[in-house]
Point group: C2
């Protein structure tokens, strides 16, 4: 394997041709949601497989019931190095509304912006540019001789933007081939344009719907008001009682498995000086809700939540109707962290609801899913190596971040293949992914490639 | 004026012809809701005016923008007797669904039932039979010589079943003619088939809709959950906090003007042995909600309430959506009693909501109406006289009852004409008003006529 400096020099020398390859990739309208573009998805898969072959990987295009997958493995020259699975996706969101694009979405271009050059086109940030940072890093290793520092399996799908319907079955059928020591995913953001980030926490999710049944029919509130139980009141009491006055969730045992952050992480997040007034201000709010006394990044990245996502009961049309409704229903979601048990929490929630029911009311429960949080341990060796590698490239410590939402493929890697995932990405919050005029910073692309070279190099040490 | 005994004897002698007149009246399909029956409404009005003329009342049919009114006054022979306004309505509900009628709705008949004869036909209980009890009582006075014991103004409308749209303007335009010492309304029920009732309490109603606005758009609960305020939670807390753990409403000053019932009434209601298990059991409930430690009749007749009649927020379709909604809304109704001030209560409620709002949320309020409760004083002389008169006819003390709902015309009489209303009716709970096979007990009709003769006689003493 060549020295890292040589590889980085190669990356610098290759930049123009790498950029050209990215533009060719973005030109392929691989829109997974629209059946009219199925052949374009296949074309993108074949293009990618050819790229992988050009860097010494015997990649193949694998059919599914939907759009094809690409799988290929490159073995490192040295033995006893880690085996990583790199995941990405070649499909893109539909470009609508087309009239808001300044130039056609599949005619990518380089634009000068205030803070530097940008590459513009549908899918350039999500996920084609990000995906190519990794492939170009591998190319530089390959072209400088001696092969890759780690064993690498590429696993690239074409249905991420439509919920990855073929992925679970594909993982199950190809587990032996896809199982590695860990997964790498390049589909996340940096903290800001100068500061890289490693995402190590994804919140889990429990989705529960409750229907409360009181009387067996809607009642007239003139006749029954004051005597018959109102299921909206019962439901409101349940919702109100789920949080205490400090914003903590009151379900017994709810915080089991929720650890406090390491001091170092708390300090790092505090030093980011993330302005809650900006975060909330841009959606018309100003005061953090949720648990009191906690930093807002902590709240959205590393603390569990309970929210009602929808509620319905009685008459909701125009004007008024003096009805005591027979039913009221609500959809609840719990975001989980650490090692909170989603099934236990769903069960505790159902017990909580039942304990709140008057004896002549009933509750029906519908589960809409339950998944645990995912977390790479703070003290993992891999994390330390990746942090150092990114710091070397960017001249700044990477932010160790959480993600309030979920990335389903990371859960599949954990639960189906027993692998942790290191999520490193070079997107920026203003990349307009899923929106018109999607862009990827040229600096993200260029330093992203260099970052991956450093990370792969570090993982093999 | 003839002696009461003579009048009662006349009523007995007239029963067959009275019944025949009622059947002729029910034959007229005076369906106010259906424009196709407008001429039938006019025919019913003219038929009634002719009936009134036949008992010495120079009644006239008065056009409105909708169906006509009938107004006429008979002066008593004696001076210094009270002047009463008798209100009723000649219009009926549509008879649908027609196929559930055992015989055609407008071909009334007498049927033998287990507990006695019944008159069957649309509108026979609501309100044609009830209305005719009063007219037939007046007829008996007229036919026995000497005229009526009181001055009586008849005021009969044809739009009660469609919300009385022409009534307020008609009252305003004819206030001088319609103003009397008190109003009599025969559109209510007996306690049971042996026990008459006088309704002296109608609950008032305040209708308020609240829309709570949090963020300026719907948010992703993965990104904002734990940091952004959820308006459904805010609303649930408001609803929960509106009642204390004893079922009392917590709005400051809410119970101002709510008096405890006289001991005598409490005792009477307790002795009625009204079974809450029957009342609630027939709608699938078993436990009285609302204020603890109070009898169920007290709760529905004489205590104020607060109910949410509808609630809506967030995603309420199938499955789940991890949204933090921007808005949540609910429709509230307050039933009022005694001298509770509806405007003050609406104002207090709005303040209560505002005090519950996080500083970055806003509330929009929509009023759907506010009306005070109506109550004839327990110690009114008129009430005592009517109680005695009914007890003489039925051999049982009448129940002094409340009505949980509202009867708008009674409010208009109070507020527009400054008159209290005595509500005496002979309907039974199982009369199937508004439903197929509506019936009126022959005993209700017959003893209803006799009852009014006694009441009119008593009021003049």
């Amino acid at each position: 394997m060549a020295a890292l400096d040589t590889v980085l020099a190669k990356i610098d020398a290759n930049l123009d041709s790498a950029l050209d390859r990215l533009l060719r990739f973005v030109e392929i309208p691989s829109i997974s949601a629209d059946p009219a573009y199925a052949s374009e998805c296949t074309r993108a898969a074949e293009w990618l497989a050819a790229e992988l072959r050009s860097i010494g990987c015997a990649a193949s295009v694998r059919p599914t019931k939907g759009h094809p997958m690409i799988v290929g493995t490159v073995r490192a020259a040295r033995p006893d190095v880690p085996h990583v699975l790199f995941y990405g996706h070649y499909d893109v969101q539909p470009p609508d509304p087309l009239d808001l694009w300044e130039t056609p979405p599949f005619e990518p271009r380089i634009a000068e912006a205030e803070k530097g050059k940008q590459i513009i086109g549908r899918g350039v940030a999500d996920d084609k540019g990000q995906l190519m940072t990794f492939i170009e890093a591998c190319r530089a290793f390959n072209e400088t001789g001696g092969g890759l520092p780690c064993n690498v399996t590429f696993f690239i799908e074409g249905e991420e933007e439509t919920g990855s319907p073929s992925l679970p079955a594909f993982l199950a059928a190809n587990a032996a081939e896809l199982k590695a020591d860990m997964a790498l995913v390049c589909d996340t953001n940096m903290w800001d344009r100068e500061t890289p980030a490693i995402t190590i926490m994804l919140r889990g999710l429990v989705l529960e719907e409750v229907v409360i049944q009181a009387a067996d029919r809607d009642l007239h509130s003139g006749i029954y008001g004051g005597a018959a139980v109102n299921p909206i009141h019962v439901l409101a009491r349940i919702i109100a009682d789920l949080h205490d006055e400090k914003g903590r969730i009151t379900l017994p045992g709810f915080y089991n498995g929720v650890a406090e952050l390491p001091e170092e992480i708390t300090r790092q997040w505090r030093e980011l000086r993330f302005r809650e007034s900006d975060f909330l201000g841009k959606v018309g709010l100003s005061i953090p809700a949720g648990e009191q006394g906690r930093d807002i990044l902590e709240l959205v990245w590393s603390r569990p939540t309970c929210d009602v996502n929808g509620i319905l009961g009685g008459y909701t049309g125009k004007g008024s109707k003096t009805v005591l409704p027979a039913q009221a229903s609500a959809k609840f979601s719990f975001r989980l962290v650490g090692s909170q048990d989603p099934y236990k929490i769903a069960e505790t929630f159902r017990s909580f609801v039942k304990e709140h029911l008057p004896a002549d009311c009933r509750a029906k429960f519908i589960s809409h899913g339950a998944s645990a949080a995912l977390q790479l341990p703070f003290n993992s060796a891999v994390l330390s190596l990746a942090r150092r590698a990114l710091a070397d490239e960017w001249g700044k410590e990477p932010v160790i971040s959480g993600c309030g939402g979920s990335i389903p493929v990371v859960g599949s890697f954990k639960h189906d293949l027993g692998m942790d995932t290191l999520m490193i990405g070079f997107g920026l919050e203003d990349d307009r992914i899923h929106s018109p005029n999607e862009k990827y910073e040229l600096s993200s692309f260029y330093k992203g490639i260099r970052s991956w070279a450093r990370v792969l190099n570090a993982l093999a040490l």
